[in-house]
Every structure is written in structure tokens, then in C-alpha cells.
């Protein structure tokens, strides 16, 4: 029944609610409230499982950019980092780490991830990811998503996961719009796979 009700749900609720937690945790409740007032929202809290129009997310990002005095790209990239480092969202990091022992394993598993999310939430529009291994320790992650402008989240996520695996990488982000669909490419150069000790995965207590 839930699936039927949620068919065609975009990720706006997830993004809006996620940005809310991120701003709340990193900049404080007052900055968040200030943002809601400035954006003219009739509320202070978003819901993950509620449908919001694209314009709401757009207005949220534009207002955040003014209130926090940072570009939308910077905010989204930090948000991507937050998604994999915040303790309350540790499930996402655990899932990503499940992909393998090394950062390259993780990159290899990214393709499967969008497919797995599709299995878990068939109603949700998630980005399509594709990995291309090139000579010289270069990896290109191709991302295709119907909602343009959100790719910096993936950039933040890729960088944070490199830290998590203790890998030393440099990432360049290229973007182009093809019709309504945005295509992003992340060129990842792997300088050293074990540059640092990988971060510990906090294990859950088995009950």
C-alpha cells in the first residue's frame, strides 16, 4: 500500500529534510529558522516522506546560500560529506562500506548501489551511476539524474568515503546538461589506496 502511494516520489523530501538536519547540526537551530523565514516557508520542518515541489528545494538552496554566505555547490558538497559521516545516518555509511575492503572496491560497487536502492525503493527516482576504469589509476564515475544541480552531493560523498577508506585521491567534477537530464562525471585519481588507516566501522551490538 505504501509503495502504491509513493509511486513517482522524487527525492525532494529526503533532500529537504536532510539539508534541514545538516544546517541544524552544523550551523545551529537559529540559522535554520532564519532560513525558513527568509525563504517564506510557512513551517520550520520538512518531512522525508512528503512530496514537495522542485521549486521548494530550489528556494531552500538559494536562501541557504544567502544565509550561510556560501555557494549552493559548497553547501551540497558538505551535505554529501555529512550524509556519510553523521552518526544518525550510519546505516548509509555501513551500506557503502559493505561494498568492499578498499576504495576501489567501493567505487566498483557504486553501480550496484543505485540498482539496490531501486530494489529497496522502487518508487524513488535515484541517480544512475556508472563506473569506468581508465589507465593510470584513474576512475570516472558517470552520474545521470533527472534532477539537475545535485551532483555536488555525490562529490562530497565520494570525498568523504575516500577519507573513510584512508585513500588519497583527487576528484575533478565535470558537468553538462543534455536536454532535461544532467550528466555529471567525476574523474577520480587514486594516488594512494592506503594512505591512512581506514576509519573503524562502529559495530552494532547483536541482540
Amino acid at each position: 500500500m505504501i509503495l502504491a502511494n509513493m509511486r513517482g516520489l522524487q527525492m525532494h523530501g529526503f533532500i529537504n529534510r536532510g539539508l534541514q538536519s545538516f544546517v541544524h547540526d552544523f550551523y545551529g537551530a537559529r540559522k535554520w529558522e532564519e532560513t525558513c523565514v527568509a525563504a517564506n516557508f510557512p513551517f520550520y520542518s520538512f518531512e522525508t516522506l512528503v512530496h514537495y515541489e522542485n521549486d521548494v528545494t530550489k528556494r531552500l538552496l538559494e536562501t541557504l546560500s544567502v544565509v550561510l554566505e556560501r555557494t549552493s555547490e559548497e553547501i551540497l558538497e558538505d551535505f554529501g560529506t555529512y550524509v556519510v559521516t553523521d552518526e544518525r545516518l550510519s546505516g548509509i555509511r555501513r551500506l557503502l562500506r559493505f561494498g568492499g575492503e578498499t576504495y576501489v572496491d567501493f567505487l566498483m560497487s557504486l553501480e550496484d548501489f543505485s540498482a539496490r536502492f531501486k530494489v529497496s525503493m522502487p518508487f524513488l527516482e535515484v541517480p544512475k551511476l556508472h563506473l569506468e576504469a581508465r589507465p593510470g589509476n584513474l576512475y570516472a564515475v558517470h552520474c545521470e539524474y533527472a534532477m539537475p544541480g545535485y551532483a555536488p552531493v555525490l562529490l562530497g560523498l565520494l570525498r568523504a568515503m575516500a577519507d573513510d577508506y584512508g585513500a588519497l585521491v583527487t576528484i575533478e567534477h565535470h558537468t553538462k546538461l543534455k536536454g532535461p537530464v544532467q550528466r555529471d562525471r567525476f574523474d577520480i585519481r587514486l594516488h594512494e589506496e592506503r594512505w591512512q588507516r581506514p576509519a573503524e566501522i562502529r559495530r552494532l551490538v547483536v541482540t
Binding site: T48, L49, V50, F98, G99, G100, D105, V119, V206, T207
Partner: protein
């Protein structure tokens, strides 16, 4: 021709295919090979992660695993009798429970091959041992299952939170819808609901007082609306102090108030209360530098709740008496028992 002869060999001899342990490791990373004496000969790489200090290899199978079958399974002969059935087991060291698997006899009857899956404990075991996708056979949907479990618990949490928020919002919307925001008393809707529900309550008589402020308009004109609001709030406070907690108070908008008093049958008693209300309401209210004085007129009716009365009828009757009181001059209260309406015995 070679492929053809292989096909023939496979068809004629069930035991033709031979696998090395490393092949089996990759296909079945949670398997155990045991000899005919029950000694563990080899353990798959994922199963090996469950051993604590002592290696599983070389130990007796029944010193490592406890089987949970309908009939006891504690010897190699019991195991032989269970080939082909579902095996349920847990590790004696307590680290992994809920294992599910099966057991086959090796070719030439040299021992047994057992293969396990994590069953319903998958999620806990993966977290406890930090297992990765590579610890499972690639044909195994474990990764998909884990992803679904995580998403499901996340969505369930979000959904529970949303429901709680909606429930809270609904309650406060309901409370706001039947309350007068200025005084916190009930509003016209709450009063109508209450009078309607009176019909279903225990038998006793009720009184309804309709209170109208005198000269209230002067306060607003002379001292402004916030002074008027302060007076209305003070009137609400007086009503709350002078009535009992079970009595119902409402502001009908403007400077009109209603009090419904339960368990009263004495006209004189009600008259006394009404007169006291007028006296208290007429006490000047200090607002900033101003002394704001209003008065009140009251029309009151006493009625028996066993009469099925239209709430509008009760209010209208009280209203008539209120206007009679106003006609007498300001600051009077007229209280009467309501005549039994026609059709009632």
C-alpha cells in the same frame, strides 16, 4: 568431441565433477568439510571469520556447532541421517546463531560437506563481524537484503515520526478550533457541542447564563483595543474563579460570554452567583495608566437536561432574559426556570 565426451562422462557418472577446496570456498564461503570421524577438515573463508582464538579446523564438529533439529543431532551418524534436510544450528561460542544450511555426503563416502547461510540473523552478524559483499557468494542476494533492511528501518522511523507529528498537529488544531484564542475559554462551536452532548449525560438540571458586558465599546474607543483585550481576559479570569471546574465557559465573540453550570436546581443560588459575577466584572481593571471599568448584564435559564432541547432554543431563551435585564437598566441579572416545552410531560 571433447565437450561431447565430457557430457557423456557427466551423464554416466554423478561423481565425475571434482572441485578443489578453493573452488568451493568461492562458491560456498560458509561451508564446513568434516571427515567420517566428525573432525573438521576445512572451513570456508567467511565461516572462518567466526572463529575466536582457536581454529575450527581439527576440532570435532559437535564441539563447534550445536544443531537444533527435532531429533537430537550429536554424532556423525545422526548427521548422515539428516543429509537432505534443513539444518538449524548455532555456534557454541555464542557468536553466531540462527544458521541455516544443509549437508551432503562426499563422493566415495569419505565425509560430509555442510553449507550454511546466516538466516534471519544476517543483519546482526554482518555488523558484528564487519562482513563485506565479498564475504558472500556473488550469486547471493545478501547485499540487496541488507540494503532493503536499512532502507526499511529508515523509512519506518521516518514514518513513525511523521505520524506522531501529524497526530500532535491534529490535536492542537482541534483544540484551537474549539477555543477562543484571546481568553482560552471555549468558543461558540464548543458550546454548541457541549449543549448537544448534555442530552446524553446523567439526570440533573443545568443553568445557562448569558453574560453581556456593558459599556465595553467605550473601553476600546477610549483606551484602544489592547485595553479591551485586557478587560476581556480579566472577565474570563473572573468567570473561571467564580465557577466550578466542571462548568463550561465560552466566549461567543465580541463581549458576549456564556457559562453552563451543572448540578444546580435552586433559582436563588443562581441569582446570587449572577449578581456576584456582575459585581466582580464591574471592578475596574488597571491597564497601564488607565482604569478600565465595564459592567455586565446577565440573562439566565434553569432547565432540566431530561428535556430534549435544541441548544439554540436554550440560548434564545437566555438571550430574551438578557435583553429584559438590559431594559431594566444596566447591571442586572434576570434568572428564570425554563418552561417545559410543549410535547414534554
Amino acid at each position: 568431441m571433447r565437450a561431447g565426451s565430457l557430457a557423456l562422462d557427466v551423464a554416466q557418472n554423478e561423481n565425475y565433477l571434482r572441485f578443489s577446496t578453493s573452488m568451493i570456498d568461492s562458491f560456498m564461503p560458509m561451508h564446513i568439510l568434516v571427515g567420517l570421524d566428525g573432525q573438521i577438515l576445512h572451513v570456508g573463508p567467511t565461516f572462518r571469520k567466526f572463529q575466536e582464538r582457536k581454529s575450527f579446523v581439527g576440532r570435532n564438529l559437535f564441539k563447534v556447532l550445536v544443531f537444533r533439529q527435532n531429533k537430537p543431532l550429536a554424532t556423525i551418524d545422526d548427521l548422515a541421517a539428516n543429509t537432505g534436510s534443513v539444518l538449524k544450528a548455532h555456534l557454541i561460542n555464542g557468536s553466531v546463531g540462527g544458521l541455516r544450511g544443509n549437508c551432503v555426503t562426499l563422493p566415495d563416502k569419505q565425509g560430509y560437506l555442510l553449507n550454511f547461510g546466516l538466516g534471519p540473523n544476517l543483519y546482526g552478524v554482518v555488523n558484528r563481524f564487519g562482513l563485506k559483499a565479498s564475504d558472500f557468494s556473488s550469486s547471493d542476494p545478501t547485499a540487496e537484503l541488507l540494503c532493503m533492511t536499512e532502507m526499511q528501518s529508515f523509512l519506518l522511523n521516518e514514518s513513525v515520526r511523521l505520524n506522531q507529528r501529524l497526530d500532535g498537529a491534529k490535536r492542537s488544531a482541534e483544540a484551537r478550533a474549539s477555543r477562543d484564542p484571546l481568553t482560552g475559554l471555549g468558543n461558540r462551536r464548543l458550546l454548541a457541542d457541549y449543549l448537544q452532548r448534555l442530552q446524553a449525560r446523567e439526570s440533573s438540571s443545568f443553568a445557562l447564563l448569558h453574560i453581556d458586558l456593558d459599556k465595553f465599546k467605550n473601553i476600546n474607543d477610549a483606551f484602544g483595543h489592547s485595553a479591551g483585550d485586557a478587560v476581556l481576559q480579566e472577565v474570563a479570569r473572573v468567570l473561571q474563579v467564580e465557577t466550578r471546574p466542571d462548568d463550561v465557559l465560552a466566549r461567543l465573540g465580541g463581549d458576549e460570554f456564556v457559562a453552563v453550570l451543572g448540578h444546580v436546581d435552586n433559582i436563588a443560588q443562581i441569582q446570587t452567583l449572577a449578581d456576584r459575577l456582575i459585581e466582580k466584572i464591574s471592578t475596574p481593571v488597571i491597564f497601564g495608566n488607565f482604569s478600565c471599568q465595564v459592567g455586565a448584564s446577565i440573562g439566565g435559564v434553569l432547565f432540566d437536561r431530561t428535556w430534549t432541547l435544541d441548544p439554540h432554543y436554550i440560548l434564545e431563551e437566555a438571550d430574551k432574559l438578557l435583553y429584559a435585564a438590559k431594559d431594566k437598566g444596566r447591571g442586572f441579572a434576570i434568572v428564570q426556570a425554563l418552561a417545559k416545552p410543549e410535547g414534554h410531560l
